[in-house]
């Protein structure tokens, strides 16, 4: 081995770099976030269902919000008909957040976990419980 010390140091650095995620999480048991749907508005629902089925909402709610925004702001159409034919008023604050009035316990739970920070709340007003 020529220049052995430098090469071994480099290799140790390389392995160390690749191992960062393993060290970072060693000994931690990660808990999947459980978004809380226990809000007054949802308790009054006969059938506890979101705008669309849960599986769809989980992965597609950002797309849905984007479509809602386009349809309200660009097309002026503020009624959304879901896949079961039920009607909803298109509004982030008055529809989504009416049911999910616990933003910190619901939206933020997942978003912190997935490291997304929707900038929507720069302009839209988050439900009151969050203010304190």
């Amino acid at each position: 081995m020529y220049k052995g010390r430098k090469i071994i140091t480099g290799l140790i650095l390389f392995v160390g770099l690749a191992a960062i995620p393993f060290f970072y999480n060693s000994g931690k048991t990660s808990v999947k976030p459980e978004p809380n749907i226990d809000t007054p508005a949802i308790q009054q629902l006969a059938e506890k269902q979101c705008v669309e089925p849960r599986e769809f909402m989980k992965a597609n709610h950002m797309q849905l919000l984007n479509d809602w925004r386009d349809s309200a702001v660009r097309d002026g159409s503020r009624i959304y008909v879901n896949s079961q034919g039920k009607q909803f008023t298109i509004s982030l604050q008055n529809t989504c957040m009416h049911c999910h009035s616990n933003k910190a316990e619901f939206c933020d739970k997942c978003h912190t976990y997935a490291n997304v920070k929707p900038y929507c709340w720069n302009c839209h007003i988050a439900p009151k419980e969050n203010k304190t």
Partner: protein, 330 residues
Amino acid sequence: MNAILSLIAVIALILIALLGVKTANLHSLFGIAVPYAAMAIFLIGVISRVLKWGRSPVPFCIPTTCGQQKSLPWIKQSKLDNPSTTSGVIGRMLLEVLLFRSLFSNTAFELRNGPKVAYGSTRWLWLGGLAFHWSFLVVLIRHLRLFTEPVPACLSSLEVLDGFLQIGAPGLLLSGVVLLLAVTYLFLRRVLIPEVRYISLAADYFPLFLILSIALSGIIMRYFTKVDIVGVKALTLGLVSFNAVIPEGISVVFYIHLFLVSALLAYIPFSKIMHLGGVLLSPTRNMPNNSRMERHINPWNYPVHVHTYEEYENDFREKMKSAGIPVEKE
């Protein structure tokens, strides 16, 4: 032909993942076993390749010397292009690794009207290479959000910066788009320029197609078909804490993405992508040009018996004298 073979290989990989997960339901094979195996091959492969290189001797002092060598005090040395000290070498290496300086000086040869030779600079390869490597790095670093909990704040800032255009939801991330465009450019360059096509092998096209399909599957998953990120993160965190789980309901596109990444990782030690370690070990890049100040000893020199002129003369003095040949010592 080389390109088509590589394309078929990548499509086969995609089909393997698709059929394996969708039809054969081998979620834990593709979600756990293959990624671990790929990581192991990657680490062990890279280490043994570098150790093998480390065992090759460098018989001569052979740094590339692209500028004025260190000489008399009144001749200006080109310190970065022709370094004579270790710090100079580190500076040149850093600029090479971070900015691809040697590609910047890439020259194209052309014949202008009449047989007039001209050398112009071609900066497109440099620009495309730079865009490709940097966006790849940013995408890779951003992916760490799937492997860390809690996510370090610097990753959030990087993601905000990367998504500063705030187009749509989920927000468009620039680095992913740049990566896709840059790989496409690097591929088109190989097929459209005849002399580059002539020297392109399957081993050149395959990594390009592989990375192209990784980026494409990622982009499809984020912007089009969607995937349950919370589920994905449970899987990835499980992988890095050696506590692997397969959550329900992750779309097959994710498994394809993961399988292609695993294929890339396992392929790296055997391929030209090893240049990531090779650049640091290139004698032409990592040696200072101090051949006039320090003697470079060939490490495989074995002691050679030297017969000096003095000894020669001692052996033959009398004979030389009698033949009338001048000698140094009487």
